[in-house]
Each structure stands twice: as C-alpha cells, then as structure tokens.
C-alpha cells in the first residue's frame, strides 16, 4: 500500500511537455523531498497531484484510489493537503480566522449556515491550539495580509496541516526565510507532520538532507534519481545536473 503513487504522469502546456512521465511511489509516513533546478516542473507536479491542473496522461492515486480526474476540493477531502510556493492565505481575514477556516471542513461543518462559530467550542479550541503551536498567538487578530513574510509562511504551513490530511505537500516552505526562521520552521514541520506522509519541494540542501527519508531529483520534467539521501548525493548524474555547480 502506497500513500501516493504516480504512474507515468505527463503534462503538456500547449505543445511543450513540462512533466515527461514521472513515476513515483511514496510510502505512508515517508518524508519525501523533491529537488531540481528551477523550472524543472516541481511546482507543476504539485499542481497535478493536488488537482489544480488536469494531467495530460498517466495515473495518480492517493491511498490506492485514483484522484487524477478529481477537482481539488474532493482530493482534499480524500486526505491530501498542500501548501503554495507563493504564499496563499486569506489576506483580509485574521490569523485566527485563517486557521479556523482551514479546520472547518475536516470538523464536519461543511456549508453550515445555522451554526454560530463562536459557540463551537471544540473548533475554537483547536484553532487556538494551532495558533500557539505556530507561535502566532500574539498575532491572533491581525489580518493575515499584514503579517511578516516568515509569519505568513508559518501560517501557510499551519493551514496546510490543520485539516488533518494524511498526505501533506509542501512547496518550498522555507523559501525566503532566514537561517533561524528556517530552523524554526523545520522543527515545526517535523512536529506537525508526525506520523503523516510528507512530500516537499525544497532548494535548501541542508534542510533536505536533514529531513528527507527519500529524495527525488527532477530535471526537465523527468526523475533522474530517487533514493535515500546518501545515494542521491553521490549520484553522478545528480551532481552534474543539480548539485555539481555547488560542490565544485
């Protein structure tokens, strides 16, 4: 049983093929990092998995159920949640409301227009708890759009994991963070994704090698290597295509 599995997934934008046959299996509980040069198609891959774009061909399944023809909200309900490379939060809502929104569906409120939010104790407690967890309690009532960049990223992560999905996709969660912020964010991610399946895109090699159980290298829409960090780091092809320039 795999948590997430991709079978020869392809994506064309017009005539150009961006994702050229990606096959990938992610085991439950695995921490899987995808690395690769800019424009390799990592974000596109996330977009395909999460249903933002339809795939051109191939197969994607979540917990052995096909999800590749489904709209994003159904995929989410099936237990997959993602974050965005470009921060994507509800700008005008307060931090607390952002988190509460992220909790709503999973706690069974659906489209309810008869239950008053302020009376939902369990919901509010959970949101407050998350707020503490994310270290955002002091910013509780500030519109999310006014948070600092790092705080927004933290909120983004918080909203992604709030719904309690079993498979989490994080797109460059630490992009634009300072070293200490990055360390903090990584600790947070480690903590909140305990026992979940994590698929993450990241450029920061320190983070990647620290966190990942498995690394996949994507170059021009193709997987050129996949395996435990040591194997990937020592792979010739990977060094040439991605790590080489850094390592001299």
């Amino acid at each position: 049983m795999t948590a997430l599995s991709l079978r020869d997934v392809r994506k064309n934008f017009g005539a150009t093929e961006i994702i050229r046959g990606v096959t990938l299996d992610i085991q439950p509980g695995e921490r899987h990092c995808i690395i690769g040069p800019n424009g390799a198609g990592k974000t596109t891959l996330f977009n395909l998995i999460s249903g933002r774009f339809p795939i051109t061909s191939g197969e994607i399944s979540l917990n052995n159920t096909r999800i590749d023809q489904q709209p994003p909200h159904l995929i989410n309900r099936a237990g997959l949640s993602r974050s965005f490379q470009i921060t994507s939060i509800f700008q005008r809502l307060s931090v607390f409301e952002n988190l509460r929104c992220a909790l709503l569906w999973s706690m069974g409120y659906r489209y309810s227009f008869w239950s008053a939010l302020w009376r939902q104790k369990a919901l509010n407690e959970k949101a407050e708890f998350l707020l503490e967890d994310l270290n955002l309690a002091s910013r509780r009532d500030i519109p999310a759009g006014l948070l600092s960049y790092a705080e927004q990223r933290a909120l983004e992560i918080g909203m992604t994991i709030a719904g309690g999905a079993s498979v989490i996709l994080l797109d460059e969660p630490t992009a634009g963070m300072s070293n200490t912020e990055t360390d903090y964010a990584m600790a947070l991610i480690r903590r909140v994704t305990q026992g979940k399946t994590l698929l993450m895109v990241e450029h920061d090699m320190k983070v990647v090698f620290d966190l990942a159980d498995t690394i996949t290298v994507l170059v021009y829409g193709q997987v050129i290597a996949s395996g435990p960090p040591e194997t990937v780091r020592s792979s010739r092809a990977v060094q040439e295509a991605y790590l080489g320039a850094l390592e001299e």
Partner: protein, 426 residues
C-alpha cells in the same frame, strides 16, 4: 476587542432607539397626524437597508459583483402583491406579519435558479451574467402581463384584515413599525450568517478562492449558497416594498435599483457589516430628499460617488473605523482643530460647486420655467455676473485652500498614527 465590541453594541442600541423614535419627532401632536412623507422615507430606508445589506453579502462578503440584485427584490415585491391579493380574497389565511417571509422565499426560489447559472463563473464573467439576467428579467416584466401586470404593474390592498396583533395597517406608522421589525430580523439574521461557517468561507473564497478549494470547499457551492441566501433577504425587502406602496412595477426589478444597491453598499462601506446601512440611509435621503431641492441631484450623487471612490474607497464606515485606534487611545481631541480647519474651505468648495451647477442648470433648463433660483435661502439673479463670479471663486479658492489644509491634516494624522504604532511596539 471587548472595548470596541461594547462600543459597537451601544451604537446598535442607539440606532434601534433612534429608528423607533424618529417618526414621533415629526408627529404633529396638535392634529394627531403623522408625517406621511417622513414615514415613507423611513420605510423606504428600511427596505433599502435590507437591500443593501443583502447586496453586501455578495459584494463585501463574498467578493461577488452582482448587477441583478434588484431582480430578487422585485420578484419578492410582485409575489407579495399576489399573496396580499390572495390573502385579501381570503384564499391565503396568513396574517400580514408573516407575509414578508413568503416574499423572501420567492426571492430565494428565483435566486436558486439564477444563482445556479451565475455562480458557475466568478469575477467579470459573473458580473456580466448577472447584468444579462437583470436585463432579461426587467424586459420580461414588461412583456408578461399575467404575473407582472405590464407597465402599470400590479396593485394590491394591504388592509387584508388579518393580523397577529389586530392591526389594520391603514396608517403609515403601523407599516413603518412592521418594516422596522422585519429590518431588524433581517439585519440580525444577516449578521448571524457572517458568523457561521458558510459566511466565513464566503470571506475566504473572496480573498482566495483557490486556497479554499484546497481546504475541501467547493467555492462554487459557497458562492451559490451565499447568492441564494442574499436573494432570500432581498425578497423580504421587496415584500416590504409591496406592502408600503401597495403597487409594484417593473422599476422594482430594473437596473437602476440594482445599481442603487451597489451604490449604497459601496458608499456605506463594504468592509464592515453595518456599512451598507449608512449607505442606504444616505442615498435614500439624497434621492428622496435632495431631489426635492434640486433637479440636478444626479450630478451630486455622481460627484459624491466619484469623490468617495477616489478619496475614501473604504466608504463611510471605513472613514469612521479609521478613527478607531485614535479614539481608543483617547487622542481624538487632537484631531478637532485640524477637522475644524477643513470645514470652512470644504464648505466654500461645496458652495462654489453647487452654485455653479445650479446656475448652469437654471441658465439652460430652469430659466425657461421662469422659476426664480433660490440658493441657500435667497433668490439669485442668474443674469448678473456676481453670483457666477462668487461661485467660481469659491470653487477654485475653496479647492486650493482645501488641498492645502488637507495636506496639513494629513501630516497631523500621520504623526498621530505613527505615534500609536510606536506605543504599540513598546
């Protein structure tokens, strides 16, 4: 939070008390007669409050720019006429007080149908679909007589002789209180809706519909439900319209009323729940009040509108809210003098502008009527150069002066808010 929350509560209490008391301020205790005009205005305000609040469920809360909101208001009105006629004929055994609920359900019914179509899209495409729907319905209302009564509309008699409280609804006063109660019910329900999961997700899809999708919500369903519910309230508003005027014509669902809903919500401010109420009151005053004074009232509405968009995009309520932090810090007094300094040049500007517009319109339109131009209480000879000169001077001088004072005001404001920020940090 609690402090401003309490303040807000008192404002509501005050507003309700005011609404209860106002008609008596215009009551003539000697003759025992009410002011019908004032009651009509107040009643009109009541239904417009419902209309603009329900419109803001779309524009402000869900980010949906609808151009057919009057459709649901109007259909509620038409249906109510038929309900009232049936009730009057004895075939609908319902008391008057409950009938607006039926009107609302009619609005809801139609909103379910049109909402299903329109909410398929969002942004401009949504706006254009609703514009089309509005035009279709307005034209249909003129074309199909059995339900809409053509151009003459359909009439009814609200004295159906069936009331929970034994009221006849012959007098405008009784009708006004009926409207007030329903307005409070609607406003309360709409406020409640903003505090429910659906209301919150409407805000969320407004800010970022894509993210909402990745949280398990289908933004289209959110839009659809929000749209339908706003149709429900608009329908109630239309029902009250029918009860007040006892006639509904196609004007009740035509484009100008849709535009009015938009104007009221925007001018009042879409970001705060109560904003549209301010807008509804102001616009009703302008349309029914100022239009008694000047036939050029449309120009004033236009200019007010443009200046609001340019200088106060958050609307009246936005302007008020901006003072919140300063008031909370107890520094409001420091703004008194700067405000007072704005008043004189502002008045000069307004005087000049109004003067010029009225002189102009009297020169070309009014002069032919042989009416005397009465401006600010005194008759004015439009042939003389003097009034023209004064107006131009007021306009230009006031404008320049106001600009200058506005800059000074801006500096004071900036320093105040900067101060507050400083204090926040400490």
């Amino acid at each position: 939070m609690t402090r401003s929350g309490n303040g807000a509560r008192w404002i509501w209490v005050f507003a309700v008390a005011l609404a209860l008391a106002v008609p008596w301020a215009f009551h003539n205790f000697q003759t025992g007669r009410d002011s019908g005009f004032v009651l009509s205005m107040l009643s009109q305000m009541g239904m417009m409050v419902i209309l603009s609040l329900s419109y803001n469920m779309l524009l402000g809360q869900a980010g949906l720019f609808s151009l057919c909101h009057a459709t649901f208001f109007g259909i509620g009105g038409y249906a109510t006429v038929h309900f009232l006629n049936a009730a009057g004929a004895g075939s609908l055994p319902l008391p008057m007080e409950v009938i607006p609920l039926l009107s609302g359900l009619t609005g809801l019914g139609l909103a379910l149908i049109f909402g299903y179509m329109a909410t398929k899209q969002r942004a401009t495409a949504f706006a254009m679909i609703t514009m089309g729907i509005g035009e279709l319905m307005a034209t249909a209302a003129l074309m199909f007589h059995s339900f809409f009564g053509g151009e003459g509309g359909v009439t009814t008699n609200r004295m159906i002789d069936h009331s929970l409280f034994g009221l006849t609804y012959a007098s405008g006063m009784q009708v006004y209180y009926l409207i007030l109660v329903w307005t409070l019910i609607c406003a309360g329900s709409m406020y409640f809706l903003t505090q429910t999961p659906l209301g919150r997700m409407a805000n969320a899809t407004r800010d970022n519909y894509e993210r909402a999708q990745f949280m398990g919500y289908d933004p289209r369903v959110v839009r659809f439900l929000q749209f339908s519910l706003s149709g429900l309230f608009a329908g109630v508003g239309g029902g009250l319209y029918a009860i007040t005027y006892e006639i509904v014509t196609f004007d009740a669902l035509a484009a100008p009323l849709s535009a009015n809903a938009l104007l009221m919500a925007y001018i009042g401010g879409t970001t705060v729940f109560g904003g549209p109420i301010l807008g509804a009151v102001l616009i009703t005053l302008l349309q029914s009040g100022v239009s008694l004074l000047s036939n050029s009232w449309l120009v004033y509405v236009g200019v007010l509108f443009i200046s609001m968009v340019m200088f106060a995009p958050a609307g009246l309520s936005g302007l008020i809210i901006a003072h919140g932090p300063i008031a909370a810090a107890g520094r409001l007094r420091r703004l008194t003098v700067p405000y007072l300094r704005l008043v004189v040049p502002f008045l000069a500007l307004v005087l000049g502008f109004v003067g010029l517009v009225e002189l102009m319109s009297f020169l070309t339109i009014g002069a032919a009527q042989g009416k005397k131009l009465v401006l600010f209480g005194s008759a004015i000879n439009i042939e003389a150069t003097q009034p023209w000169l004064i107006s131009v001077v007021c306009l230009l001088g006031g404008g320049a002066w106001l600009r200058w004072e506005a800059r000074a005001f801006h500096r004071v404001w900036e320093s105040l808010t900067a101060d507050l920020k400083q204090r926040d940090r400490v």
